[in-house]
Amino acid sequence: MSDTIIETKRFSAYFDGRCVLKDLEMKIFAHEILGIIGPANSGKTTFLRALNRLNYLKPNYSEKGEIYFLGKNINQIKDSELRKRIGIIFALPQVLPMSIYNNIAYGPRVHGIRKKSTLDELVEVSLKRAYLWDEVRDRLNSPALKLSGGQQQRLCIARTLAVEPDVILYDEPCSGLDPISTAKVEEAMQELRKHYTQVLVTNNTKQAARVSQRCAFFLMGELIEIDETSKLFTAPHDKRTDDYIRGKFG
């Protein structure tokens, strides 16, 4: 772990003036998978969506403090540029009602790539990286909604990869998937470590333990503890972390 990709400084978030994230201080390093665990309503998703300013789609949202992406305050980066470089995968596989090809080409197209050969290549590379190419290579023009849930979620990953981000955020990506699909998504995440920094919000502590190198525990909008995954799960400093991991609450 070396370079800091994302850093938050005294970052707080509010919905309707109600505090959902409180004085967050944390760093995310290059090429790591950072797991974020915690019970419902602890602000995990809000944190994720704060990183690429998706929270601002809701009119009642406000925030304090700063988030730096590669040393630059994200409020000084254009939304379209920021979201291109920090992509997100949502909890439920959400594909657009168009073909597999067009789903993936959508991102590059809005960023101005029109050339057919460039798009073809991006689609192929993205699908390969998301471990979906072999399953769909002969039906790129069929509707994406015909794919199974697990395939759709990997399509969403490919779609995010196609805009060539630096960071990928996952918001409980496997909550709607069966164990085999989950395994495939996790496998894809491990492969992606070579090229990307990844943040995984999950309700499944076992998944965090399996996949992540470092792990953070959120509770009621506060960062309780962040440490290497092996340490956090074997010898947590805070009693609340210990309780949560052992399943005493949440």
């Binding site: 690429n52 998706l54 939304d79 992509g87 997100i88 959508y106």
Partner: protein
Amino acid sequence: MKTAQGRERIAFIILGIITFFVILPVFLTIFYVAKHSIGAISWEFISQYPRNGMKEGGILPAIVGTVYLIVGTMIFSLPIGILSAVYLVEYAKDNFFTRLIKLSIVNLSGIPSIVYGLFGFALFVIFMRFGTSILAGSLTLAIMSLPVIVTATKEALEAVPYSFREISFSLGATKWQTIRYCVLPYALPGILTGTVLSLSRAAGETAPILFTVAAFYLPRLPRSVFDQVMALPYHLYVISTQVPNMPLKISFATAFVLILLVFLMNLVSIVIRAHFRKKKQW
């Protein structure tokens, strides 16, 4: 018949009969109008000018006039209606101003059509000096169709799942790109359906065109947008009430052509809707 199934049967029969009464007037009207227009409908009737105090010949100028009015109405009401609905749904924040706009739209649809006619006369014909013309009539009809178009478009836009927008934003698309590629294509069938229905209603209106465009008798086709035209609904009113000794079958034939025109437009909207429903995937 005291069992639950028995009562169910009775309720079912009553509901069925009542529903039948809904469709009855439609079929009776069409049947009645069609029956009385037999003998008057012919190729000459729709392709020739009226002659002999409108008692003979055809109704070509009225048909052409109505078509021009529909096209003119479309030109003005479509962009304004659709774009303002896009603004209201996608851009506007929920505040006093937007609530006022929404309230105005609801109220606009409650205004009687004769009031639109007077308003159009005062604003377009007199104040803006368009005279009684296709332009003034189209603008008046356009204002009248706006509330329906805005409401239909709003509903069509709101029916597009929010997740589509979220996906698009999350990939770095701008607001306009999101609307253009991720919202409008999926709202289009609903927009078209509502629009065509409102236009077909405008085609059959008499009151708004009464003072703004309609000519009593004008046996030639218009040469510019500042010309008056005859229009089917007004022509029907004229020959039914203002011309003595009018052969009844000509009135009914005119009515039949008007119904046919409106039905044709509704059919277009039904076909559009059916076509897109088959393609809809979510």
